[in-house]
């Protein structure tokens, strides 16, 4: 793997007259050509500081960030803009600029002072539009677009900068699930087909686990862990990084479970989707699953209307919905 960004013994933080405040230290890793890396970690672990330092917008306390063999702080702004582009959480109100014009601003570091676009510039803009799948959006003004569409345009704009590295901060934050999946698919395509290296900070664990080629996991107060998503799950790094009360990382589902103390327990029997959602409903209501429990819930249905039977001390009661089931169990 070719590294485009090399991070050596990096400490990030803030410098002031009173002294340095170190947020994260001892980071040693690379961002390789054509990989999508997700940076995740609990709030306050220093994700933003690290992103800014890697993007060259903030000075490293110690160590270095090297972009294409040269310290990132040595680049002139225009040079850097040709190597590295950003997509931010900032909401953009570019008013009556069309989406095409916004993407065309990605050519800013290449055009002369008049901002006139050459044929080549237009070709690259078209390519970016195609890459982002934004053909249908380009003639509309930015203010007409939804959050997801707008984010797509900002990503296409970053792509039109023809960078080696694209750094994205929480680009999926305002989006619903289908839109988030779409954006991550798009980023994977950009990384794998065009050889861009993408560093994406996100709070979306599920997306990071499913979408990233590699994960940079930044726990609070320690160095950074890197690896493939699955390795970090299996070796317990995830659990350690996000450990806190009332929340548990479930290795088998790869997601966090929220629960308090278990109030009671039941044995659940059944197969398929209906049984899985019954299980979630029970956990959500603080009911533990235990095969030896005296109360039994038998899910009869697997499609169509939900139907299950609750057995306790020889009595049988039938529930026609999950809410019904919860009410029956809570009544006992």
């Amino acid at each position: 793997m070719n590294a485009v960004i090399e991070i050596n013994n990096l400490s990030t933080g803030y410098q002031s007259r009173q002294g340095d405040t170190i947020v994260t230290s001892n980071i040693d890793t690379n961002l390789n050509v054509g990989e999508l890396v997700c940076l995740i970690g609990p709030n306050g672990a220093g994700k933003s500081t690290l992103m800014r330092t890697v993007a060259g917008a903030q000075k490293a306390i110690t160590g270095s960030v090297t972009l294409a063999g040269r310290d990132i702080r040595e680049y002139r702004p225009r040079e850097l803009a040709r190597k590295l582009s950003l997509v931010l959480t900032d909401r953009v109100f570019a008013g009556m600029l069309s989406a095409y014009e916004v993407i065309a601003l990605g050519r800013f570091p290449y055009t002369n002072w008049t901002g006139k676009l050459s044929k080549e510039d237009h070709r690259i803009i078209q390519e970016s539009i195609h890459m982002a799948g934004a053909e249908d959006l380009v003639n509309r003004t930015l203010s007409e677009l939804s959050d997801g569409e707008r984010q797509k345009i900002m990503i296409a704009r970053a792509f039109a900068q023809e960078p080696d590295v694209m750094i994205m901060d929480e680009v999926t934050a305002f989006l619903d699930l289908p839109r988030r999946v779409e954006i991550v698919k798009l980023l994977k395509r950009m990384a794998h087909e065009s050889g861009k290296s993408i560093l994406l900070s996100t709070h979306d664990m599920d997306l990071a686990l499913r979408g990233a080629d590699r994960i940079w996991l930044l726990p609070k107060g320690e160095g950074m862990l890197t690896g493939s998503p699955e390795d970090l799950v299996l070796n317990g790094s995830f659990e350690d990084a996000f450990i806190s009360e009332g929340i548990q990382f479930d290795r088998s589902s790869g997601s966090f479970e929220v629960h308090g103390e278990f109030q009671s327990s039941v044995a659940l029997d059944g197969q398929g989707t209906h049984a899985i959602w019954a299980q979630r409903a029970l956990q959500r209501n603080g009911i533990q699953l235990d095969d030896q429990a005296p109360t039994k819930v038998i899910v009869k249905s697997n499609s169509g209307d939900f139907h299950c039977v609750v057995e306790k001390a020889g009595n049988q009661e039938s529930a026609q919905s999950i809410q019904n089931l919860i009410d029956i169990l809570n009544a006992k």
Partner: protein
């Protein structure tokens, strides 16, 4: 979802083509309108002068009525030119301020620049009066550089305050702040003038009304070069100003120097708004509304189109407002700012309502 998206787009697809086509038409149409109103300005008034008469005076023909010559050369032509230059200058200053402050309600008057310029002029004139004789004499004597300098220093001071507080307050709050600065300046000016004599106060009151007819030929050698520098700076900065539409963070990530762009652009806004205010007095609303009308008409926020559009539209609107003021009204004299308010206030209301609906600000 995908279907709904593609259907909505297919209907809106031709809009850009239409917009581009109309832009090609709009520039010459606006230019012709500017010329037409220009001729009307010269011809209409208490003494009507036919087009043939205007042309004769302009080419310096011999066989022309001497009164007509005086009316056009001494009164109407300088006034019309002042409205042309003033409207264009205030429009461009408004556009620059709106983009830099990311505030659709910004403008030389709304941000208090006009008030700062007024105060600066009042101070210069009063200082001159204390040293010399009357306001009138000093106004004439100092009319050129010192008054303009006073206006520009006033602008710069206000602008520094506004830039500092714009980081902490919302769009509307900033506008209210600017308007309050205006009242504050008015109050200060009144107090300053209280210590001078009555005739000065009257002359100041006349200037304070805002009018293009106060501009004389001897002012143009100062006014025109400064405004041209302001336009040139605006035209030079059109590319970075477009990037600024994405916000400062994105602009910086595109390799642009935000600091340099801010400095040059704000400097240009002062070069445009300061001298115009010094000579014409406070002209309300124009700088704020012209950029909005240009965006609406040309359907874009691209400064490469907006700069020339705002120059033409600003000239046209200022000329027309001035023409309206100078129509041969029978009974009374209309104030330029009254006309500006009739035109401007509804536009401002429209901008506010439109933006609220869009949950943010739109440039």
């Amino acid at each position: 979802m995908a279907e709904t998206i593609s259907t909505t787009i297919s209907t809106s697809k031709p809009t850009i083509q239409v917009a581009k086509f109309s832009r090609v038409i709009l520039f010459p149409v606006l230019a012709i309108l500017v010329m037409v109103v220009f001729m009307l300005e010269l011809g209409i008034g208490s003494v009507p002068i036919p087009v043939s008469g205007i042309l004769k005076v302009m080419i310096g023909a011999e066989d022309v009525d001497a009164t007509w010559h005086t009316i056009i050369m001494e009164l109407r032509l300088p006034r019309t030119l002042a409205s042309l230059v003033g409207g264009a200058a205030l429009g461009v200053a408004g556009l620059q301020l709106q983009t830099l402050f990311k505030n659709p309600l910004a403008g030389p008057w709304a941000l208090g620049l006009t008030a700062g310029a007024q105060l600066g002029v009042a101070l210069v004139v009063t200082a001159g009066a204390v040293i010399g004789s009357s306001f009138l004499e000093n106004f004439e004597f100092l009319s050129n550089l010192s008054i303009v300098a006073g206006a520009m220093i006033g602008c710069v001071l206000v602008l520094m305050v506004m830039v500092a507080i714009s980081k902490y307050v919302s769009t509307i709050t900033l506008l209210i702040f600017g308007l309050m600065l205006g009242y504050l300046a008015q109050g200060l000016i009144s107090v300053i003038l209280h210590f001078t004599n009555q005739s000065q106060t009257r002359i100041y009151a006349g200037w304070n009304d805002g009018s293009f007819s106060a501009v004389y030929w001897e002012h143009f050698p100062v006014l025109i070069p400064l405004v041209i520098i302001g336009f040139a700076g605006g035209w030079w900065m059109r590319k970075p100003l477009n990037a600024m539409l994405l916000g400062e963070n994105y602009a910086r990530s595109l390799g642009m120097s935000v600091k340099r762009t801010r400095l040059i652009t704000l400097g240009c806004a002062v070069l445009l708004a300061g001298p115009v205010t010094a000579y014409c007095g406070p002209i309300l609303f124009l700088g704020l509304i012209v950029p909005h009308l240009a965006r609406g008409l040309f359907g874009t926020s691209d400064h490469r189109i907006l700069m020339p559009a705002v120059i033409l539209l600003g000239a046209l609107i200022a000329e027309s407002a001035d023409l309206f003021v100078h129509l041969p009204w029978e009974k009374h004299f209309l104030h330029l700012n009254a006309v500006n308010a009739l035109l401007g206030a509804p536009v401002v209301m429209w901008v506010i309502i439109k933006n609220k609906k869009m949950r943010g600000f739109e440039l």
